[in-house]
C-alpha cells in the first residue's frame, strides 16, 4: 500500500464527515439541491466504477435506478412489505439484469453494449407499463415513509461513501489490476489469461447494484411513483455528462463534475424549462470538443506543465 493511497482515503473520509454536517446548517431549497447533488454523486461514482476503466459508455443508469424505485413502490403499495426489506431485495434484481445485459454484450465489442443500454430504460418502462395495465390494474404507487430530506441525504451520502470505498479497494485488487490492463489493451489482457468478459460483467453488476440502491433511497422523496417517472432516459445521460465533465480516469473525478453541473442544471431547468434538451446536447458537444478528459484532465495537464 502506497502512502498516496492512504492519503486519498483519508481526504475522502474527511470530506464525508464534512458533508454529513450539511443538513444541520441548511434546510429548504439548498438542502433539496444538496440531496439532488448527493444522488448524482452516488450515481456518477457508481457509473465510473465500470465505465472509467473499460471506456464503455453505459446508459443503463435509468434502467437500474428505475428498477430500484419501482420495486420499492410496488412492494410497499401493493404488498405491504416494509421499505427496508424492499431496499435489501430490489438491488439484486438490478444485479440480475446487469448480469444478463453484460453476458449478452460484454463478450463482444463495446459498441453493442452502448446500443443495448441506449433503449434499455425505455424498453423496461414499456414492459412494466404493459404488465401493470393488463395484470395489476393500478397505475400509481405510493411510497410513504417517515424520512425527511435530511435522512435521504445521509443515506445517499453513505451509499456514495461505500461506492467510493469499494472503488478504492477494487483499484488495489486483482480485479482492478485486470481492469487496468483491459482498459489499455484488451488483446494483451486476453493473452495474459484474464477472463476479460467475466471481469467486465462482475464490475457492471456492482454498478447495477448501487445504482438501483440509489433509486430505492430516492423513492420516498417522490412519494408517488409511476413508471414514466423513474425509468427516465434523461437521467442516464445526465449521469454520463457529469462523470465526463469531472473526468473518468480518477475515481474522484465525477464528484468534481457533479457539483458545478447540478447547480448549472438547476438554473437552466428553472430559467428555460422548455429548452433543457437543447442545453443537454450543447453540454455534450462542449465536453467532447473542449474538455475531452474532464476537469481531472485539465488539472493534471496544468500540474504537468508546472513541473515540466
Amino acid at each position: 500500500m502506497t502512502g498516496s493511497g492512504w492519503k486519498e482515503i483519508g481526504l475522502a473520509a474527511g470530506l464525508v464527515i464534512l458533508a454529513a454536517f450539511v443538513p444541520l446548517v441548511t434546510d429548504g431549497y439548498w438542502l433539496s439541491i444538496a440531496v439532488t447533488a448527493m444522488m448524482y454523486i452516488a450515481l456518477a461514482t457508481a457509473w465510473t466504477l465500470f465505465s472509467g476503466p473499460t471506456h464503455y459508455i453505459s446508459l443503463a443508469t435509468g434502467a437500474f435506478f428505475g428498477i430500484g424505485g419501482y420495486l420499492v413502490a410496488t412492494g410497499m403499495s401493493d404488498y405491504d412489505i416494509s421499505f427496508w426489506v424492499m431496499a435489501a431485495v430490489a438491488p439484486f434484481v438490478a444485479v440480475v439484469l446487469a448480469a444478463i445485459v453484460g453476458a449478452a454484450t460484454l463478450r463482444l465489442s463495446g459498441i453493442y453494449f452502448v446500443i443495448f443500454t441506449l433503449g434499455l430504460a425505455e424498453m423496461i418502462r414499456g414492459l412494466v407499463s404493459w404488465v401493470q395495465n393488463n395484470f395489476l390494474g393500478s397505475r400509481g404507487l405510493y411510497v410513504l415513509t417517515d424520512f425527511t430530506e435530511a435522512h435521504i441525504y445521509w443515506m445517499l451520502l453513505i451509499i456514495a461513501a461505500v461506492v467510493y470505498l469499494i472503488g478504492w479497494l477494487i483499484e488495489r485488487s486483482r480485479l482492478g489490476f485486470a481492469m487496468k490492463i483491459i482498459g489499455n489493451d484488451e488483446g494483451v489482457a486476453k493473452h495474459l489469461g484474464i477472463n476479460t468478459a467475466a471481469a467486465k460483467v462482475a464490475l457492471f453488476m456492482i454498478t447495477g447494484y448501487f445504482t438501483a440502491l440509489v433509486g430505492v433511497v430516492i423513492a420516498p422523496r417522490y412519494s408517488y411513483i409511476e413508471p414514466n417517472l423513474v425509468f427516465s432516459p434523461e437521467l442516464s445521460f445526465l449521469v454520463v455528462i457529469m462523470a465526463l465533465l469531472g473526468g473518468t480516469q480518477r475515481l474522484w473525478g465525477p464528484i468534481v463534475g457533479v457539483i458545478p453541473f447540478t447547480l448549472i442544471w438547476e438554473t437552466i431547468s428553472v430559467s428555460f424549462p422548455n429548452a433543457t434538451t437543447f442545453y443537454l446536447g450543447l453540454s455534450f458537444l462542449l465536453i467532447v470538443y473542449f474538455i475531452p478528459n474532464g476537469f481531472v484532465g485539465l488539472v493534471e495537464k496544468l500540474a504537468r506543465r508546472r513541473q515540466g
Binding site: 471506456h55 453493442y112 446500443i115 433503449g119 432516459p233 445521460f237 437543447f278 450543447l282 467532447v288 475531452p292
Partner: protein, 287 residues
C-alpha cells in the same frame, strides 16, 4: 395475411432508414446516434410544407434529400472529421463519435421542440387500398414503393458504378482502400452525407403514415441500429432483409399482443442476435 402485408410495408421503410445508418457506420465508421433526429427532421419538413402549402410529401422528399446531403456533409467535415483526426484508435473514435452525436441528437431535438412541440399530425392519402386481398392505407403503400425505388437505386449504384465500388471498398477495409488509391476521407464524407440524405428521405415517407413528434427520434435510431447489426455492418442486402423481418415481427406483436410492446420485441430479437449470431445474419464469423 394482414400482418404479413402491413409488416412488409413497414419493413420497407425501415430498410431505407437502416441503409442510411449503415452507410454512415459501415463506411464512414461513425456511429451516428443522431440518425433518428435526421429522420424526424425530414418528417418535420414534410409536415410543415403539407400543412402550410399542401405540398405532397413525395415532392418534399425530393427537396429534403439534397438539403440533408449538404447538411450531413457539413456535419462530417466540421464536427466529425476533427474527431477522426484526433482519435488514436478505433475505440477512441467510437467513444468520441457516440458522445458528439448524442450532443447533436439532443440539440436537434431541442431545436425541433422549439419549432413545433406537438405531434406532426397531417393526413395524406389516407384512403383504403386493396392489395393481395388485404386493405391497407394508400400512404403506406406509396411510402413502400418510393422506399423500394430509392433502395434498389442505392444497391445498384453501390454495386455497378466506380464511386459505389469505392464506397464498398472503404467499408471492407479502410487501410487497403488507401493503398489502391481511394481518397478515404472524401469517400467517408460522401457516404456520411448520402446516409443522412437517405435517412431524411425515409423520415418524410414514414411521416405520411406514422404520427411522429420531435422527441421520437431515439426510438428510430434504436431500431435502425438493431437492423444494421442484425443484417451485418456494411451489408446492404442484410439490412433490407433484417428490416423486413423487424417490420413483420413488430406488426405481429402489435396486432396480436399489444402495440406498447414493439420495442420489447425488437429487444428480444437483438438479444437473440447478440447471443447466437453477433456477426449478423449473413456475416462470416471473424477468424
Amino acid at each position: 395475411m394482414d400482418i404479413l402485408v402491413s409488416g412488409l410495408l413497414l419493413g420497407g421503410t425501415y430498410a431505407l432508414v437502416a441503409m442510411g445508418l449503415n452507410l454512415q457506420y459501415g463506411v464512414a465508421r461513425i456511429m451516428n446516434l443522431a440518425s433518428g433526429e435526421m429522420l424526424v427532421l425530414g418528417a418535420l419538413a414534410a409536415f410543415w410544407l403539407f400543412t402550410t402549402a399542401q405540398l405532397s410529401p413525395v415532392l418534399t422528399m425530393i427537396m429534403v434529400a439534397p438539403l440533408a446531403f449538404i447538411g450531413n456533409w457539413l456535419i462530417y467535415q466540421l464536427l466529425l472529421r476533427p474527431l477522426v483526426k484526433r482519435a488514436k484508435n478505433q475505440g477512441q473514435l467510437e467513444v468520441d463519435s457516440i458522445l458528439a452525436t448524442f450532443g447533436m441528437s439532443f440539440a436537434l431535438v431541442g431545436i425541433m421542440v422549439a419549432i413545433h412541440g406537438e405531434y406532426f399530425t397531417y393526413s395524406y392519402l389516407a384512403n383504403p387500398f386493396e392489395i393481395l386481398g388485404t386493405t391497407v392505407a394508400l400512404n403506406r403503400f406509396v411510402a413502400f414503393v418510393v422506399a423500394l425505388i430509392i433502395g434498389v437505386t442505392l444497391v445498384l449504384w453501390l454495386n455497378f458504378t466506380r464511386p459505389g465500388t469505392a464506397v464498398r471498398a472503404v467499408s471492407v477495409n479502410t487501410e487497403a482502400a488507401k493503398l489502391v488509391g481511394i481518397n478515404v476521407p472524401r469517400i467517408s464524407a460522401l457516404s456520411f452525407a448520402l446516409g443522412g440524405a437517405v435517412t431524411a428521405a425515409g423520415g418524410t415517407l414514414i411521416s405520411t403514415f406514422i404520427t411522429l413528434d420531435a422527441s421520437v427520434g431515439v426510438i428510430f435510431t434504436m431500431k435502425a441500429l438493431i437492423i444494421v447489426i442484425m443484417g451485418g455492418v456494411g451489408d446492404m442486402r442484410g439490412s433490407i432483409i433484417a428490416a423486413l423481418l423487424l417490420g413483420l415481427v413488430e406488426t405481429a406483436v402489435a396486432t396480436l399482443i399489444d402495440p406498447g410492446l414493439t420495442l420489447v420485441s425488437a429487444y428480444l430479437i437483438f438479444l437473440g442476435i447478440l447471443l447466437f449470431r453477433p456477426q449478423g445474419l449473413f456475416g462470416k464469423r471473424a477468424t
